[in-house]
Assembly symmetry: C2
Homo-oligomer: 284 residues x 2
Amino acid sequence: MSRFNRIAVIGAGLIGGSVLLALLRRKSGQTLTGWSHSRKSRDLLGGFTGVDVFETAKEAASGADLVIIATPVDKIKQTLLAITPSLKPGAIVTDVGSVKASVVQDATILPPTVSFIGSHPMAGSEKAGIEQARADLFEGRLCFITPAGKEDPAALSALRDFWQGLGSIIRECSAEQHDAIVAVTSHVPHATASALMLAVAQAPQFDITAAGSGLRDATRIAAGEENLWVSILLSNAENVVSGLSNVEKNLRALREAVAAGDQEKVAALLKAARLARQSLDPSR
Amino acid sequence: MSRFNRIAVIGAGLIGGSVLLALLRRKSGQTLTGWSHSRKSRDLLGGFTGVDVFETAKEAASGADLVIIATPVDKIKQTLLAITPSLKPGAIVTDVGSVKASVVQDATILPPTVSFIGSHPMAGSEKAGIEQARADLFEGRLCFITPAGKEDPAALSALRDFWQGLGSIIRECSAEQHDAIVAVTSHVPHATASALMLAVAQAPQFDITAAGSGLRDATRIAAGEENLWVSILLSNAENVVSGLSNVEKNLRALREAVAAGDQEKVAALLKAARLARQSLDPSR
């Protein structure tokens, strides 16, 4: 982290705010700047002692050695356009979006004098916003870095060190591989939890007093802010559509086995699901 | 609870074991008896000081004022048959199964000298077995009681007092209503979590290191013991099949909107899901 004298965080939600809190806690002596689209978040950011808050993204990014774009995925392109005039030659620009292939495409508008490398710290939550920011958000959590292969190795190494310095475990792969992986472990589960919640809420027999911890856990992520998730799902549409088809296929198999009273088949499906779920927590 | 001098718990898993622990903690002076199909669980039950453990269900139930059948749903009928010869005239018999209409049907084999009223304490977990039993399992949790309308009011009142004495919040409705309600809040979420887990595990791009708390929560209940759940789903097949069709319908709507790049439609579906999920936790 000490390689960067000036770090700009553009966009101050859960992730952007947490990056700043994590850097402040480390007191590494860099100049930290910040900006948020919303006046309210800028005001909250003003309460972070040690962060210089600016009225425009362009001013906040000016002269920074590392610029972290932490806006929603569908705002990244316009943010990159806005900061381009003030980017210092040699600056490293990254983002924290949950999809990578479309962001890497967006970043082709940047001048060749700067290095863009995508990041995705997997540290989101259904509780969004700078109010939820935490200095330890990245500790022990996976952070994808998606080099295109043409980067300056020094820039890649500096970005790796940066996230590791915040406690992240680094995983490097292509933007396309990233998108396929997180579709499976994050985007498809999100959409499925939403569909389950909709079906539950639509059922005439739905009785909220009978909702237990099972339903609550199974649908928790459906409480996520839809404005963030619409752009995530649409930016990763191909992988999401294919993953949702597979969930539908498995639901249909289970439904048909139940309808047929096929005890053996239902048992086989539930057992395979149990074993797969248990393998997520090998200690159990 | 003091209305019962002798209470028998037939079947010693999470629920049966927890009933005994809760009664023992209350030291209300009743005689407590227990039985389990498995030798291992009977041995563990032997460690509950104050519970007389028997080798057969019939012996354990003999002379009891309250008999609680806590075997898996598909074993209830044979358990009722086994204990019938030893049931004391005037005894109250209940169960703790997650489905009620089929159990009420099973209970028609009991002699008219005893009262059967179904119960369903909603206190299960994906962690089954007497090893997981806890004296406070029922505190503040919903317990369904499903009278058929022909019961002795004194028996119904005694059963209500019993569960309330263990900390449960009582909900009375018909067995059919119960089954429709828990299909929505429990059985369909369970099957959906299982289908999601299967689809995730089958995906060639599944990468366990990228599995975060969202996927873990969404699939937690899929770790449940399949032998319990097969009989639950099959005993409530009609409601489960209809509920799963509705989940599939919502998944398809979301998938088609994503495939079409229909931002407005995706946003509307995710927003409706978010609002429904937030209404489960009104304090947030």
